[in-house]
């Protein structure tokens, strides 16, 4: 069976309540027999899915298992390190870890857990829970709105600067699925609808700016000169240099007050923030195929050497000229993305860098360098959160 996880909060809840005890709870009124083999494909908010295998270990009565029943408890047979790692790093990227790591030092988290469980046990009216969830949603939407307002059109749509018409449109479509005000019509609070409106206006403006090639080029021309190393990242005028969009800003927004229906895992909402980690996973899973047959021209070769030597700006110039001369040279295209990505890394814009490296991998999925860069970024993130899993395990 397939389960889609709507939000990072939900994933976090599943993680701390179930996965950490090597089990999984499913709400159902018609439980299959104990011992039945179950294969769960858990789709993370980032759209990555992980396979969990297990067998039903117990039937949970109504209100059993701290009020979560009725349903079945599944003992997971294996929980591979890679699966755990994926969930752990995705959660950390989504900004869920600060809360968890605080719990290691202080007592904040246990308290919190107790209080949520209390709500579940006593079955306090859903109304209170809904209001709480809506407050949370307002908070996260406000944060997202603040980030969106700082970003340029490319960043708002989460696309690389070389995106074509189709990529722009499909990026807008995917974001519309998440941010269109229709998605928020179900909530009581007018503030939520207001925020969704504002967010979507920013998205639609970005889409309108980038949907067609001439306007896109013009928009790019306004952004590009600023992205040299040391200078402020490509933001709209007026934003302070320190406010560069970080990976965590994009993903921190805990999506949709799905806490309201935490157990009803039947829908999914794509989460743009974790896409970088998707491709991390993909690229680290399969063996890297060898570079495809087309030969590398001397100029491009030179560009790569300059790139290797650390002169990213020069490398970018050389490779860009090549792309202009030979628009079909995929090596040059990849080079441009890599150089731009490196530049972005230097200037501290990790989101932009991730997008660039991803774009390079899109152009040439066999490119080892791009895969390496992304893997490097991944290590950087996970090293900050090393040992999270084991700490959590000890806690519970």
């Amino acid at each position: 069976m397939k389960l889609a996880c709507q939000s990072w909060q939900q994933l976090s809840a599943i993680y701390s309540r179930d996965l950490c005890r090597n089990a999984f709870f499913l709400k159902t009124n018609n439980p299959p027999a104990i011992g039945t083999q179950v294969r769960i494909s858990l789709v993370l908010p980032s759209d990555t899915s992980v396979e969990l295998n297990g067998r039903i270990s117990a039937h949970v009565a109504v209100n059993g298992l701290q009020g979560r029943g009725p349903g079945v408890d599944i003992a997971l047979l294996t929980l591979s390190h890679s699966v755990m790692w994926l969930i752990e790093s995705a959660l950390s990227a989504a900004g869920m870890t600060p809360e968890l790591s605080i719990s290691d030092k202080g007592t904040r988290k246990p308290q919190k857990q107790v209080s949520t469980e209390k709500i579940e046990e006593s079955g306090i009216d859903e109304g209170a829970e809904i209001i709480g969830a809506e407050v949370q949603l307002i908070d996260s939407l406000s944060k997202e709105l603040a980030s969106f307002a700082k970003w340029n059109a490319f960043q708002r749509l989460n696309i690389g600067y070389e995106a074509n018409d189709d990529q722009v449109r499909s990026a807008f479509g995917e974001l519309s699925k998440r941010y269109h005000p229709d998605r928020y019509a179900r909530y009581q609070s007018p503030e939520i609808r207001e925020l969704a409106n504002e967010l979507f206006i920013l998205l639609r403006d970005a889409y309108r700016t980038l949907a067609r090639a001439p306007e896109r080029t013009a928009a790019l021309a306004k952004i590009k000169p600023k992205s040299s190393p040391g200078s402020s990242p490509p933001l709209s005028p007026g934003s302070s240099p320190g406010s560069s969009p970080k990976l965590s800003v994009a993903t921190a927004a805990p999506n949709l007050a799905s806490t309201r229906k935490a157990k009803q895992i039947d829908t999914k909402v794509p989460d743009m923030g974790a896409e970088i980690f998707d491709s991390v996973q993909q690229s680290s899973v399969g063996p890297l195929p060898q570079a495809n047959g087309t030969p590398i021209s001397a100029q491009v070769e030179l560009g790569f050497r300059v790139l290797e030597s650390g002169e990213y700006q020069n490398a970018l110039q050389i490779l860009k000229i090549e792309v202009r001369k030979y628009p079909d040279d995929i090596h040059a295209q990849v080079g441009v993305e890599l150089a731009a990505g490196k530049l972005a890394l230097v200037s501290g814009d990790r989101m932009e860098a991730g997008q660039r490296f991803e774009a390079a991998l899109d152009i040439d999925p066999t490119n080892e360098r791009a895969a390496r860069e992304i893997a490097e970024m991944r290590r950087h993130v996970t090293s900050q959160r090393r040992g999270l899993l084991s700490k959590l395990m000890k806690k519970i």
Partner: protein, 527 residues
């Protein structure tokens, strides 16, 4: 969460649908398993009685009760009585159309003038009743469709009709969009498809160009004619029949409502049969007796060919909106991959031929044109209620919105076919020295001449700083959200002083009017 129903409030027929557990929309059938209900409201009983019958029952008694049977109230909703097409409609309608104090088109039943909103509310109430019977649960919320080319006051009037019927209108949805939603949501599985929805209903014509990709429905452009529909085809035939009676007997039967009612019915039947037959017979014995020495019988034959010549000019009026929509969407006819026909009148072979010639391809007839709009409304209701977190609808404004200029011209701020929600602004300067206030009139429409557009409201900004003409600058910002709620802000740039207005387009009914109607409705229901 309680369910939200989807209602297609048509000029001729209405239909209600709902999303079921399998996330598929289905039509809810009424009495005798009828899946659509005629949009007919009749007042029965003694004079000034408030007893109404709706749907089939109203249609059945229409011929014997023509002056108190309202057909096509949708043509009047949110309209002024002096509009050209309303006057046209009034001429052939068997019931009386009068002017409300504010110039709106109302209908007169006995001694009472009734707003079209109240008439439409009876139909919406009936659709609600059908849904409640079929679902076995109370229904309080609905998505109601209107022609894409409806303007703000027509939309607001439709909303008010819902309020009177005790329904919370969650969204006013465009009919062609609804049709594409219902048609494409389970069909377009892979890749991107560009669809033209050609929606010719009883009273309105819309054409919408949409792209469907990965469950995202994006309206690229929409255009149409909110006063062109199947009724006009009927009317051409009625006019012809009235003329031929006059030629033969020197009697004008337009003042005889019973005769006109019979003519309308016969014309409609002839139109239908001409969709499949090459000749239709109209036989109306004793059509008229009062002002004639001998009873007038009408017995004539109409060939399809003659009928098509008669209605040729209507067909021509369908082309320009299609051209304009293609132009606005930056598309050519060759880009259109599929043409979807919606609305009863699209069954006409002449219309189909015209569409096929225009788009250079055969049309898609697999959807039921009478039900597909309601199914789409239900699908969208599902999106709003949170039953479907994949399908997404990106809709546009059908009309430009802007301000009246000092010269009497019109300057648009939000262009038509802008993705909703939208926020746009424009700078304006004072036109006189030491002008201390600015008043902007907000209009909707496409014409450079302000008189041809519709006034939505005004915004006034006082206490402007003194200065020479043109030196004081005011920024006008217009925001439209997905509910079509229109907000206008005027800001003076040097002082930052601003004024805000939420323009609720007048549907013609004030909130106190609405309250009065609601109270009267409740009082009538109690006994």
């Amino acid at each position: 969460m309680a369910r939200i129903i989807g209602i297609d409030l048509g000029t001729t027929n209405s239909c209600v649908a709902v999303i079921d557990e399998g996330k598929k929309p289905r039509v809810l059938a009424g009495v005798n398993n009828r899946r659509t209900t005629p949009s007919v409201v009749a007042f029965t009983g003694e004079k000034n009685s408030k007893d109404v019958v709706i749907g089939q029952a109203a249609q059945r008694q229409a011929i014997t009760n023509p002056r108190r049977t309202i057909i096509g109230a949708k043509r009047l909703i949110g309209r002024k009585v002096n509009a050209k097409d309303v006057a046209w409609f009034a001429r052939s309608a068997p019931f009386r159309i009068v002017s409300a104090p504010n110039g709106d088109a109302w209908v007169r039943i006995d001694d009472n003038a009734l707003s079209p909103q109240e008439i439409a509310s009876h139909i919406l109430g009936h659709m609600r009743f059908i849904a409640e019977e079929a679902l076995g649960e109370p229904v309080t919320r609905a998505v109601v469709t209107v022609p894409a080319y409806f303007d703000e006051s027509q939309r607001q009037a439709t909303r008010d009709a819902g309020t009177i019927a005790g329904l919370e209108i969650c969204r006013i949805l465009n009919e062609p969009t609804a049709a594409a939603l219902a048609y494409g949501v389970h069909r377009v599985k892979e890749g991107r498809r560009i669809i033209a929805v050609f929606d010719l209903g009883g009273g309105t014509f819309d054409v919408s160009l949409m792209s469907v990709e990965n469950k995202v429905f994006e309206v690229l452009a929409t255009n149409g004619d909110s006063a062109l529909g199947g009724d006009d085809w009927d009317r051409m035939l009625i006019e012809y029949l009235v003329d031929s009676v006059f030629d033969e007997h020197r009697v004008d039967i337009t003042s005889d409502p019973v005769a006109m009612g019979r003519l309308k019915e016969a014309a409609e039947a002839a139109k239908r049969s001409l969709s499949s037959e090459s000749i239709a017979t109209i036989n109306l014995p004793y059509l008229h007796q009062e002002s004639s020495p001998t009873p007038i019988h009408l017995d004539c034959k109409i060939t399809r060919e003659y009928y098509e010549t008669l209605t040729h000019e209507l067909l021509d009026r369908l082309r320009a909106p299609c051209e304009q929509a293609l132009d606005d969407a930056n598309l050519t006819k060759e880009d259109i991959e599929e043409v979807l026909l919606v609305g009863g009148m699209s069954r006409s072979p002449a219309v189909q031929k015209m569409v096929e010639e225009f788009f250079g391809q055969s049309v898609s007839k697999s959807a039921n044109p009478d039900e597909v709009v309601a199914l789409g409304a239900a699908t969208h209701a599902g999106i709003l209620a949170g039953n479907d977190d994949e399908a997404t609808l990106i809709d546009v404004t059908a009309h430009s919105i802007g301000v009246k200029l000092g010269s009497g011209g019109f300057s648009s701020i939000v262009k038509r076919n802008s993705i909703l929600p939208v926020r746009e602004h424009k700078l304006f300067a004072t036109s006189q020295d030491n002008q201390d206030f600015i008043e902007a009139e907000i209009y909707q429409g496409e014409s450079d001449k302000i008189a041809e557009n519709r006034l939505l409201g005004k915004i006034r900004l006082d206490q402007l700083p003194r200065g020479k003409a043109g030196s004081v600058r005011v920024k006008l910002t217009i925001t439209i959200d997905v509910e079509s709620l229109l907000r206008v802000t005027a800001t003076e740039l040097s002082t930052g002083k601003s004024a805000h207005v939420i323009l609720s387009p007048s549907s013609g009914l004030s909130s106190s009017d609405l309250n009065k109607i609601l109270q009267a409705r409740r009082a009538h229901k109690k006994p």
